[in-house]
C-alpha cells in the first residue's frame, strides 16, 4: 500500500529525513515512533502530499505522491498534528463541505457525515461552531474529516497529543475500529500507544530509521528480556566500566544522590538466575549494594535503547 524509497528531506543545510525506506502492507496499522523533532511529522506531510521530498519517492498503491498527487489524495485521509478547521462553520456544515470536496456522491455524503459523527461521538455538537469546540472535540472532528470518503489509507499525525485520558481512550477506540478495514500510518511518541494500536512500528531518530517493521511477536520477545535494577553506592565511572567489562549492557542510570554516590543501574542481558547471582555477588563484593530488583525491560527502555539515549541523557 505504501512504498517509501530512499526518502530525504532537507531544509537548507539541515537534514530532517535521511534515507528513509519502508513498506506498509494493505490493512496494516503501522506506528512511526520517535522523539520530538525526529522527523515524524515531516514524513507524514510528505506521504499526505502536503510537502515534497528533497529526493526519493513515496508511492501509494503504486501511485507517486508528486506525479499522481491528485489520484493519491483521493485515496488518503489525513489528520495533521495540529488540526485546524474552519472556525466559522458548524461541525455538520464543515464535514458536508469536506465530503463534497472529497468528491463523494451527492446522494450519499449526508448519510456518511451522519454516520461518522455518530462513530466519532460528535453528533450532539453537529450544530455547534467549530470555534466553540474543545481541543478533544476538534480532534474528533479532525478524525471524522480524515475518515470521510472512505479513504484506503489513513495518515494520522500524533492523533492523541494534548488530549485528556478519556479523550485519548475514545480516539484510540476509533482508530482501533479501522483495524483491518484500512491501512493506517500513525505517528506518535507514546510507546504504549504504538504497542496498543499498531501491528508494526518504525522508529525514527534524527531523521533516520533506527528500527523498523518490528512485528508483535518480535516486540514481545524484545520486551520480555529480564533486567536487573541495581542501586549501588560507589564511584560512578568505576561501577559502570566494571559492569560493562562483565559483558552486560547498561541501559539506564539515574543519580539518586550525588553526595553519597548512590546510583540506579538497569543491567540487561541477565536472563538466567545464575548470571543474576554472579552480578549481584560481584557488585556486593566491591561496593555497597543497596537494592537489587528484578525488572522486565519495558517498551520505554527498548525505546531509549534504540534511540541511542544514553544513561547520561536520562540522568
Amino acid at each position: 500500500m505504501i512504498q517509501v524509497t530512499k526518502l530525504n528531506k532537507r531544509y537548507g543545510n539541515q537534514t530532517v529525513l535521511n534515507d528513509i525506506s519502508f513498506t506498509v502492507k494493505k490493512g496494516e496499522i503501522v506506528g512511526v515512533l520517535g522523539p520530538n523533532g525526529a522527523g515524524k511529522s515531516t514524513l507524514m506531510k510528505i506521504i499526505a502530499c502536503f510537502i515534497p521530498a528533497t529526493s526519493g519517492s513515496v508511492k501509494i498503491d503504486g501511485l507517486d505522491v508528486i506525479a499522481d498527487s491528485l489520484e493519491v489524495r483521493k485515496r488518503i485521509g489525513y489528520l495533521p498534528e495540529k488540526v485546524q478547521l474552519y472556525r466559522d462553520l458548524t461541525v455538520q456544515k464543515l464535514l458536508e463541505y469536506i465530503a463534497l470536496i472529497k468528491q463523494m456522491p451527492r446522494s450519499k455524503y449526508k448519510d456518511q457525515v451522519t454516520d461518522l459523527m455518530n462513530i466519532c461521538g460528535i453528533a450532539h455538537v453537529a450544530h455547534k461552531h467549530v470555534r466553540k469546540l474543545s481541543k478533544g472535540y476538534c480532534q474528533r472532528v479532525g478524525i471524522a474529516q480524515a475518515l470521510l470518503g472512505k479513504p484506503e489509507l489513513l495518515i494520522l499525525d500524533e492523533p492523541t497529543v494534548g488530549l485528556d485520558p478519556r479523550q485519548i481512550v475514545d480516539i484510540r477506540r476509533i482508530i482501533k475500529q479501522q483495524s483491518g478495514k484500512k491501512t493506517v500510518i500513525i505517528s506518535t511518541h507514546m510507546l504504549h500507544e504504538a504497542s496498543m494500536l499498531c501491528d508494526s512500528v518504525i522508529i525514527i531518530v534524527n531523521g533516520r530509521i533506527v528500527a523498523k517493521e518490528i512485528q508483535h511477536g518480535l516486540k514481545d520477545s524484545l520486551f520480555s528480556n529480564t533486567c536487573l535494577r541495581l542501586r549501588v553506592q560507589g564511584p560512578l565511572h568505576q561501577v559502570r566500566s566494571e559492569i560493562r567489562a562483565l559483558g552486560h549492557e547498561l541501559i539506564l542510570q539515574q543519580t539518586i544522590s550525588n553526595v553519597d554516590q548512590v546510583y540506579d543501574f538497569i543491567v540487561s542481558g541477565v536472563d538466567d538466575s545464575r548470571s543474576q547471582g554472579d552480578i549481584a555477588r560481584f557488585i556486593a563484593g566491591k561496593w555497597t549494594l543497596l537494592e537489587l530488583t528484578h525488572v522486565k525491560k519495558s517498551l520505554e527502555d527498548f525505546f531509549l535503547d534504540v534511540t541511542g539515549y544514553s544513561e547520561e541523557d536520562v540522568s
Binding site: 489524495r73 495533521p80 485546524q84 474552519y86 472556525r87 469536506i98 470536496i101
Partner: protein
C-alpha cells in the same frame, strides 16, 4: 472544476459570517450614498438654474449621466481601490496563518480550483456591492432622464477594475500569512499600476505608450464615460490573468519552500 463551486460556496459562507464584509459594505454605501446625494443636489440646482437663467447653458450636456454618474463612478473606482484589498487580504493569508491550508491542499482538489473558488466568491460579493448602488440611477430616473447604456458601461468598468484589483489582492494574500501585509502589498501594486500614466509624461514616446496602456486609471475613465473599448476590456482581463498565474506559481512554490 466541480470543487470550485463548493469552495466558492464555502468562502461566501465565511464572508457573510464574519463582520468585515458588513463593515466594508456599510462604509462603501455610506460614502457612495453621501456623494451621490451631494452630486444629485448640485445637479438639481444646476438644472434649475439653467432653466431659470434663460437656458444659458443649453449647449452644454447637463444630463444626470455626466453631472452625477460619471463623477460618482470615478469616486466609486477610488473606493474600490481602498476596499477590495481589504476584502481579499484574508483569502489565503488567513488559511496559512491558522493552518487550514494544510488540510485543504491534501484534499483531492487542484490549486486552480481553490483559487477559482475564492475568486468567484469574492466576485459575487463585489457584484452584490456594486449591484446595490444601482438604486442611485433608478432613483434618479424617477425624477429625470437617465441613459442606461453609458451607465452599464460605467458599471462594467467598475466591475472589471474591481476584479482586477481582486486578482492582485488574491496574489498578495498568497504571499504572506499576515493580512495587513497582504493589503499593503495590494495597495502598493495598485498604486503603481494607477500612477504609471503620471510618470509617462517624462519618458520617450515609445515607452510612454506602453506605460499608458499598463496604467489602470486611463482604462477605467474611458469605460465610466460610456465608451466600451475592447482594448480596455482586454487590458483588465490580461492583468487579472497575469496575477492569477502568479498566484498559482506562488502557491506551488510555497509547497516547495515548506
Amino acid at each position: 472544476m466541480r470543487n470550485l463551486k463548493y469552495i466558492a460556496r464555502m468562502e461566501l459562507r465565511i464572508y457573510f459570517t464574519t463582520p468585515i464584509i458588513y463593515i466594508l459594505a456599510t462604509v462603501f454605501f455610506g460614502i457612495c450614498g453621501y456623494i451621490f446625494y451631494d452630486l444629485f443636489v448640485n445637479f438639481s440646482e444646476y438644472s434649475f438654474r439653467a432653466i431659470n437663467l434663460d437656458r444659458m447653458v443649453l449647449n452644454e450636456n447637463i444630463s444626470a449621466n455626466t453631472l452625477v454618474f460619471m463623477p460618482l463612478f470615478s469616486y466609486m473606482g477610488f473606493f474600490l481601490l481602498l476596499i477590495v484589498p481589504l476584502m481579499t487580504m484574508r483569502l489565503f493569508a488567513e488559511e496559512k496563518k491558522i493552518g487550514t491550508i494544510e488540510l485543504l491542499v491534501t484534499y483531492p482538489t487542484t490549486k486552480a480550483e481553490i483559487l477559482g473558488g475564492k475568486f468567484v466568491a469574492s466576485s459575487c460579493v463585489l457584484v452584490l456591492m456594486l449591484g446595490a448602488t444601482f438604486i442611485y440611477p433608478v432613483l434618479t430616473g424617477m425624477f429625470g432622464t437617465v441613459y442606461f447604456g453609458p451607465l452599464l458601461s460605467g458599471y462594467l468598468g467598475l466591475l472589471l477594475q474591481g476584479l482586477t484589483i481582486m486578482s492582485i489582492g488574491i496574489f498578495s494574500s498568497s504571499l504572506t500569512e499576515n493580512q495587513i501585509v497582504s493589503a499593503i502589498i495590494t495597495y502598493g501594486i495598485v498604486v503603481i499600476l494607477s500612477s504609471l500614466q503620471w510618470t509617462a509624461d517624462s519618458i520617450p514616446q515609445a515607452a510612454r505608450q506602453v506605460l499608458q496602456y499598463i496604467s489602470m486609471s486611463a482604462h477605467l475613465s474611458s469605460l465610466t464615460s460610456g465608451v466600451i473599448d475592447t482594448r480596455d476590456i482586454v487590458y483588465f482581463v490580461l492583468i487579472s490573468a497575469f496575477f492569477f498565474w502568479l498566484t498559482l506559481r506562488s502557491l506551488e512554490s510555497e509547497r516547495w519552500r515548506k
